[in-house]
C-alpha cells in the first residue's frame, strides 16, 4: 500500500502517536502543580472550514471544472499552561484537498514550550517536539481560514502541493524577543526533520517512482521579525534549508540522488485602522545531484511574489485585492527553455503563473465567517501536478471562483 510508503513520517502523524506523545509530555509535568484547579489552565479550541471551487478549466482541489467541494479543513487543539513558563500544546488537523490530501488526521503540532526568561524587556525559550515553521507571514497558521487573507494563500509562495515539506519540523525551535519603546524584534531558530510525502516526490522529481524520498540532513528554519509597538508595521525575513534524499528502486529510470533547497521569504505589511498593504517575495534555489544528467540539469531558482491590499468597508466586511506572479525558474520566466528541455511535452505556460484575485470577507459573527473570491490566471504552474497529470492538457488562461464558510471556537 503506497499510503504507508513513507511510514517513518506518515505513521508518526497519526492519532496513536499523538496520544503517546501527549501522555509522554504530561508525564514530564510535576503533578503537584495546580493540582486543585488545573482545568483553568487547559484550553481547547478548533476550526472547521468548507470550501467550494469552480474553475473555467483545469483541476484545482478536485473536479473544479464541474464545481468541487473537496476542500475541508478541520482542526482541534488543546493547550495546558502547566506553569507560567511551561506550555504543552497539540493540534490535530484533518485536511481534504482534492486528490492531494484525503482528510486523514495528522498531528499538526505537538510541543512543549519552555519560556526560560520572560520580562517586560525580553523573552527567550525553546520549543521541543513538532512545531510549525515560522515562514513568511502566514505559514505557521496557514490552515486556519480566520488567519489567512484569502480562501487560498498566494500559491506562488505558499505552494499547496509541497506544503508538508515546509509546514512543520520535528526537533527544537529556539526563540527570543526583545521589546523596546518602538517595537519588538524576534528571532526564531529551528532544527529538525521535515515530513515528506508523495506530493513532494511528484513535485520535485516529476513522478511517483518506486524508490523512496526521505528527509535527509536536518532541516534548518529561521525567522527574524520586527513589529512596531502599535502593530502597524511588520517586517520579516525567513528561510528554511531542506535536504531530501531519494533511494531509487531497481526499475526506476533515475538514480539515487539528493535534492537541496533553500526557501526564503521577505515580508512587509502595513496595517492602518481600515486598510492594509502586504507584500512578500520568495526565492527557492533547488539543486539536484546524483539522479543522472536528465534530472541533475534541472537546477533552478523558483521565484514568487505578490502585492495585496485590503480595505474594511464595514467592521464586518473586508475587500481584498491581490496580484501575484511566480516562476519555476527566474532565469526562464517565459518557460520556453524549460519547455524545450521536455521536447515540448510540457508547455511553456506550465512554468509560470500570474494572477489577479479579488475577494470579500464577511464576519457574520466573531466566530463565523463567509468568503467569496474570484481569480484570473495566466499560466498553470501552481496547479497540482497530481490533479493535472498531463501538462499539455491544461488551459493557459483560466478563472476560478471560490466560496468558503468557516467556524471557529
Amino acid at each position: 500500500m503506497t499510503r504507508y510508503k513513507y511510514s517513518a513520517s506518515a505513521r508518526c502523524r497519526t492519532v496513536a502517536c499523538l496520544r503517546g506523545g501527549i501522555a509522554a509530555l504530561l508525564a514530564l509535568v510535576p503533578p503537584v502543580l495546580h493540582a486543585d484547579d488545573w482545568t483553568d489552565d487547559v484550553q481547547v479550541h478548533g476550526f472547521l472550514s468548507q470550501g467550494f471551487v469552480k474553475t473555467t478549466d483545469n483541476r484545482f482541489f478536485g473536479d473544479s471544472d464541474d464545481g468541487s467541494t473537496e476542500f475541508t479543513e478541520l482542526g482541534i487543539n488543546a493547550s495546558f499552561r502547566a506553569t507560567p513558563s511551561v506550555l504543552l500544546s497539540g493540534q490535530l488537523l484533518s485536511r481534504r484537498a482534492g486528490d492531494m490530501y484525503d482528510g486523514s488526521p495528522v498531528i499538526d503540532y505537538a510541543l512543549v514550550d519552555w519560556t526560560i526568561s520572560n520580562t517586560p524587556e525580553h523573552a527567550y525559550g525553546v520549543m521541543i517536539g513538532r512545531s510549525k515553521n515560522p515562514l513568511g507571514l502566514y505559514n505557521d497558521t496557514r490552515d486556519v481560514a480566520f488567519t489567512r487573507p484569502s480562501i487560498f494563500l498566494p500559491q506562488q509562495i505558499y505552494f499547496d502541493q509541497v506544503r508538508n515539506l515546509i509546514l512543520s519540523a520535528d526537533g527544537l525551535q529556539f526563540y527570543g524577543r526583545l521589546y523596546d519603546e518602538q517595537g519588538t524584534f524576534s528571532l526564531n531558530l529551528g532544527v529538525g526533520s521535515s515530513p515528506v510525502d508523495e506530493n513532494v516526490e511528484i513535485s520535485f522529481l516529476g513522478s511517483d517512482y518506486g524508490g523512496d524520498v526521505e528527509s535527509g540532513d536536518p532541516a534548518f528554519v529561521a525567522r527574524g521579525e520586527y513589529e512596531t509597538r502599535d502593530g502597524a508595521w511588520r517586517l520579516s525575513l525567513s528561510a528554511a534549508k531542506v535536504n531530501l534524499s531519494f533511494d531509487a528502486a531497481p526499475a526506476d529510470p533515475i538514480g539515487s540522488g539528493e535534492v537541496d533547497l533553500l526557501y526564503w521569504i521577505a515580508s512587509v505589511q502595513y496595517t492602518a485602522e481600515r486598510w492594509s498593504l502586504t507584500a512578500e517575495y520568495m526565492e527557492e534555489p533547488i539543486e539536484f545531484n546524483g539522479f543522472g544528467p536528465l534530472v541533475d540539469s534541472r537546477d533552478s531558482t523558483v521565484q514568487g511574489y505578490y502585492l495585496q491590499g485590503s480595505y474594511l468597508l464595514r467592521d464586518d466586511l473586508e475587500w481584498v485585492v491581490r496580484y501575484s506572479e511566480g516562476f519555476t525558474d527566474k532565469d526562464d520566466r517565459g518557460g520556453t527553455q524549460q519547455s524545450a528541455a521536455t521536447g515540448g511535452f510540457v508547455p511553456p505556460y506550465a512554468f509560470y503563473q500570474k494572477d489577479w484575485m479579488v475577494g470579500l470577507r464577511w464576519d457574520v459573527t466573531p466566530s463565523f465567517m463567509l468568503r467569496a473570491e474570484y481569480q484570473w490566471n495566466d499560466g498553470t504552474w501552481t496547479l497540482p501536478r497530481r490533479e493535472n497529470p498531463v501538462p499539455s492538457a491544461t488551459v493557459k488562461d483560466w478563472e476560478m471562483f471560490s466560496l468558503l464558510a468557516s467556524y471557529r471556537f
Partner: protein, 146 residues
C-alpha cells in the same frame, strides 16, 4: 452575490447591540483593573500591551496573570484597545490567533459583559482586565498605566 445582505440574524444582533448601548448609556472610558491582592498600583504601557497580547504571563513576583477580555465587537473592548493600548482590536486578535493556532500561546479568557468581567477579576488571584470607570467598586483595584 458578492454583497451578502444582512440576514435577520445580523439584524437581531444589531438590535441587541442597540439595546445594550441604551442599557449602558454613554460609557466612560475604560480603566485597567486587577484582582485586589495584586501588589501593584501601576503598570507600564509596554507591560500592559504584552500582558494583553498574551506574551507576558507573569507578575514580577512570578505569579500567573489570568487575562480577561470582552468580545472583539464590544464598544468597551474597542475603546480599551484603541485608547489605552493604541492597538486595533483586530491586531490583538491576530496576535492571539497566531499563538493559539500554532501552539505557542493561549487565548485570553473571554467574558460576556462588564458585570462578568468585574466578578471574574475580583475572584481570580492575579487576574487583570478592564471596566468602564463607573462600574468600578471595591471588589477590584484600578491600575494606572504609566
Amino acid at each position: 452575490m458578492l454583497y451578502p445582505r444582512p440576514t435577520s440574524f445580523s439584524k437581531r444582533l444589531s438590535g441587541m447591540l442597540i439595546a445594550l448601548i441604551c442599557a449602558f448609556p454613554a460609557y466612560a472610558d475604560p480603566v485597567l483593573i486587577a484582582h485586589p491582592a495584586v501588589g501593584m498600583r501601576d503598570v507600564s504601557l509596554n507591560s500592559t500591551r504584552l500582558i494583553f497580547s498574551m506574551q507576558l504571563g507573569q507578575w514580577p513576583d512570578g505569579g500567573p496573570v489570568p487575562v480577561y477580555v470582552l468580545p472583539d465587537d464590544s464598544e468597551v473592548h474597542r475603546s480599551f484597545a484603541k485608547d489605552l493600548l493604541s492597538l486595533y482590536p483586530r491586531q490583538l486578535r491576530r496576535v492571539w490567533d497566531r499563538q493559539l493556532y500554532s501552539g505557542t500561546g493561549q487565548a485570553p479568557e473571554a467574558v460576556a459583559d462588564p458585570v462578568e468581567m468585574r466578578q471574574k477579576v475580583a475572584n481570580t488571584p492575579g487576574a487583570i482586565g478592564y471596566l468602564p470607570s463607573e462600574m468600578i467598586d471595591d471588589t477590584v483595584q484600578v491600575l494606572s498605566i504609566r
